[in-house]
């Protein structure tokens, strides 16, 4: 077992985020990856990006989002959007085997298949600090 040394990671609230990004030397983040899909997160994504940044939109939204091109003119952003192209699984499994990725801490709850209704309720309502639930399909 070994600990991975990570580059510096700072956790911010949405209220702090825009200010923190725009205070950076280049006027914003060099890369923004939008995974939240909330009411205001698309707007936050492009506003927090520096000019000529890459903004990757992974999130699924319930409603169409607004791209105010006149306001954004000259910011020269590159948007990348879409659903995952899942063709890297062999590489990902190797990285897990090497200990470079570990997603097991995401499993906060476990249920047998026979109790999946309970699992759905907890997951849907974000109860009990849930992140991901492992379902044992054998029972």
């Amino acid at each position: 077992m070994f600990s991975i040394i990570y580059p510096s990671v700072q956790v911010v609230t949405p209220e702090e985020c825009l200010n923190a990004a725009q205070s950076l030397e280049r006027g914003g983040a060099d890369v923004v990856i939008e995974v939240a899909g909330g009411e205001d997160t698309f707007e936050l994504a492009w506003k927090a990006a520096r000019p000529n940044a890459v903004v990757t939109v992974v999130a699924l939204y319930g409603r169409p989002q607004i791209l105010p091109l006149p306001q954004m003119y000259g910011k020269n952003l590159t948007f990348k959007t879409g659903g995952v192209d899942g063709c890297d699984c062999t590489e990902i499994l190797s990285l897990i085997e090497e200990g470079k990725i570990d997603t097991t801490p995401l499993i906060t709850h476990g249920f047998p298949l026979s109790r999946i209704e309970e699992a759905y309720k907890i997951f849907e309502n974000k109860e009990d600090g849930v992140i991901k639930i492992a379902i044992d399909n054998r029972y």
Partner: protein, 268 residues
Amino acid sequence: MFLLFPGEWHKYMPDESTGWNEYWIGFNGKIMEDWVKAGFFSKENPVFNVGLNEELISLYKRAVIIADSQDAIVRVTLSSICSSDLHIKHGSVPRAVPGITVGHEMVGVVEQVGAEVTSVRPGDRVAVNVETFCGECFFCRNGYVNNCTDPNGGWALGCRIDGGQTEYVRVPYADQGLNRIPDGVSDKQALFVGDVLATGFWAARISEIKEDDTVLIIGAGPTGLCTLQCVMLKNPKKIFVCEASSERRAFVQHYLSFSAGGDSGGMP
């Protein structure tokens, strides 16, 4: 596949006298008994799947068979629930087919393979990809597998065809959609490879991250956390994670302090 009758769903538990080991839940006990007597479900073919029907969640029985020579049948050992499953439940996925088994995050063991499947064999432990792709069309050959032009291409499992919250799942294009799990990797470690971790990995890959960069990740849910790990592998100068929930912000700190190389999940 069987047509399911509309109406109320009831919960049943097995009793000792029937000798059934499986939990099964169905519509109206009488209908299920009739189907059992008619031989549709048997002890030899005891598969049960999770379906979503108008906000109710039920387990019911269905047969799972090889339909094409490139299919494999996987016995699912561990699976998970994804926020996309909730999107289906709420009717936000127009492509979703009503009545199919949901679930597209799973690992399992290959039980049967069609004649043309070469990359996996019965007995192999595999991660199942959320996506189905042929590997041959223009989009697949360019790595754009999400837009595979095959009728089943893209997100099929647990959306348009039966998925993984079940005992058995039929995986089309098994050579593309199944990945053997290395011996040193557990089912729990591999559980998210086919979907949410693949998503984070792909997002980090396409974002052109350089070591001099500051990266902002908005969202620290499961996908955001996977994205964070994958972005870290690119070694940018700094990463901001923006998250509205104070609980999840605390979780990020906890997540960053784990040691790699072994199970550290909190599963009871």
